[in-house]
């Protein structure tokens, strides 16, 4: 689903946010992306959604090389990717309902279908009662969940999340992570950038660790799991 081949990202100022990053996330796989602030997590996600383009190396999404992706084909790529943004990126002059409906309207769904899907997505994140509310009146965590509903409403095969639990209490964070796991269980590939070590150490997923733009470690969230997998690999 996502393949990085020796990818470099240098920003116009000359700062190299990513250098020599290679990994492969298979379709249906779920992984966490971690690293200190400024390690390049957001930059990596931006390359996937073609918000930024790689300076060197190749990024392949669903077999498609983004280096050769023309600008006018970017919208089609982004519709396949649901993104939960670090800063929510909601439209504050529209209701929660309209925010979540936006990807469906863009994709040209029929009104009646839009209504059902939006309500189903809002139900999923526990905000069904807040349909007609303006996002500005919601708490940070609720806004984050509106962002999640919007990211999944279109049933994208790939889900990216940048700090999706940044504003949530531990309880709600676990619930949101559970939600991502559920999406993953029905075949959605999921990549989540997060700082929250406490949270991910309790889960059992692949973990990519960035350090100053380099992929320092490609392993598993829990030590025990890691040793078990290493053992299995040797015995193959």
């Amino acid at each position: 689903m996502i393949q990085f081949d020796n990818v470099n990202k240098r920003y116009p100022g000359g700062y190299e946010a990513l250098s020599g990053v290679s990994f492969h996330l298979k379709a249906g796989e779920m992984a966490f992306l971690t690293g200190h602030s400024g390690a390049g997590k957001s930059s990596l996600l931006k390359l996937i959604a073609c918000i930024e383009r790689a300076s060197r190396g190749n990024v392949l999404i669903d077999g498609q090389n983004l280096r050769r992706l023309k600008n006018r084909h970017i919208p089609a790529l982004r519709r396949k990717i649901g993104v939960v943004f670090q800063n929510h990126n909601l439209l504050y002059d529209r209701t929660v309902y309209d925010n979540v409906a936006l990807p469906l309207i863009i994709a040209g769904y029929h009104q009646s279908e839009v209504g059902r899907r939006v309500r189903a997505a809002l139900d999923k994140v526990g905000l069904l009662g807040k349909e007609r509310v303006m996002p500005i009146t919601l708490s940070g965590g609720e806004q984050q969940r509106v962002g999640i509903a919007r990211a999944v409403v279109n049933r994208p095969p790939l889900l990216l999340a940048d700090e999706p639990t940044g504003n949530l209490d531990p309880e709600l964070s676990r619930e949101i992570m559970g939600l991502f796991e559920q999406f993953n269980q029905v075949g959605v590939s999921v990549l989540i950038a997060t700082h929250d070590h406490d949270l991910i150490s309790r889960l059992d997923h692949r973990l990519l660790t960035l350090k100053q733009g380099k992929l320092e470690r490609d392993g598993w969230t829990s030590e025990m799991q890691e040793r078990k997998r290493a053992f299995n690999n040797e015995s193959d």
Partner: protein
């Protein structure tokens, strides 16, 4: 209902059921009713962009008024010129031509000539004034009778007065007829009695050109105005544009509300211009009628004809759309997510 829909519904319903479900996503599913949804969406954008304008009535009215005044100016002038033309066409009906005949042309030849002229196309009536009649008329009207008596010969030539048909009373055709008549052997001098009607007509023609030029200039002004208004709207909504781009909106999708906004501005401006010109004509019509009554004329001020109204509405729509198109083309590209 596609299998995809029902699958999605079941999936979404499972929020309470935490059991793992290994059901695979169907790959080749498509939302249904796309074409229908496309038109519904256009309609929705059309209505909602009007709604957005409605929420800021003063700003909208101001923009529409500027467009309205700019459109009303050439439209009003056009209607006034049309009226002047109408009026002068009435006068052209009274136009006539005097053919002064050479001395010594016999009575018989004059009669033949008159008969021949009556047969010409565009000639309604030919009246013969003999030298004697001319003398009698002159004596009566001028009061120089005594002076004429002292002459031993009648100095006045015979005259054929030619009145054109209403269709031929138009300046270009009158000039043609004049040229033809002048070539006749017996005619000494032919004179168009209403030369000034022709001059007026060319002034009207000039005026029409002027109105066209003015309309062109004001059209450009409207383009720039709408363009600038839309540019400001784009800038004020750049965050929204970025977010919709991130979610996968195409440029066409993002462009749409701005184009419809321009369309609405143009249409509102055109309707305002219509109202302005119509009220102006309404105000003028009573005094004009009174004036023409005093001059014993049937003339009354004509209003906006259907063609002018359609051109007015059409140019409003096109200018609004084009103005926003230019602004959108220039400024939307620059707004990209980072």
């Amino acid at each position: 209902m596609s299998p995809y829909t029902s699958w999605f519904w079941r999936f979404m319903k499972r929020s309470s059921n935490k059991n793992a479900d290994m059901e695979k996503r169907p790959r080749s599913a498509k939302p249904r009713g796309r074409v229908n949804a496309y038109f519904t969406h256009h309609l929705w954008v059309l209505v909602s962009s009007l709604g957005v304008l409605w929420r800021t009535p003063m700003a909208t009215l101001m923009t529409a008024s500027v467009i309205g005044i700019a459109l009303a100016l050439p439209a009003g002038l056009h209607v006034l010129l049309q009226n002047v033309q109408q009026l002068s066409t009435g006068w052209e009906g009274t136009a006539q031509m005097s053919l002064f005949l050479k001395p010594g042309v016999s009575e018989k030849r004059i009669q033949t000539l008159a008969k021949k002229l009556r047969g010409w196309e565009g000639v309604a009536e030919v009246r013969y004034i003999s030298r004697e009649q001319a003398l009698a008329e002159f004596r009566e009207l001028s009061g120089f009778g005594g002076a004429l008596d002292s002459l031993d010969e009648n100095p006045l030539p015979a005259v054929l007065v030619l009145r054109p048909t209403t269709e031929a009373a138009e300046p270009a055709q009158m000039a043609l007829l004049l040229g033809k008549v002048q070539k006749l052997q017996s005619v000494d001098l032919a004179q168009l009695d209403m030369e000034w009607v022709r001059r007026l007509s060319s002034i009207i023609e000039l005026g029409k050109r002027g109105v066209m030029l003015l309309a062109g200039l004001l059209g450009m002004a409207i383009l720039l105005m709408v363009g600038n208004t839309i540019r400001l709207t784009i800038l004020s909504r750049s965050q929204e544009i970025i977010v919709t781009k991130l979610i996968g909106a195409t440029n066409a999708f993002i462009r749409r509300p701005f184009l419809y906004t321009g369309l609405w501005y143009g249409l509102m401006g055109a309707i305002l211009a219509w109202i302005l010109v119509a009220s102006l004509l309404g105000l003028l019509s009573a005094p004009v009628s009174r004036l023409s009554f005093l001059y014993n004329s049937q003339f009354s001020l004509g209003g906006l004809d259907l063609e002018t109204v359609l051109v007015l509405l059409g140019s409003g729509l096109i200018l609004g759309l084009l103005g926003s198109w230019l602004a959108v083309g220039k400024h939307l590209q620059a707004i990209e997510p980072t």
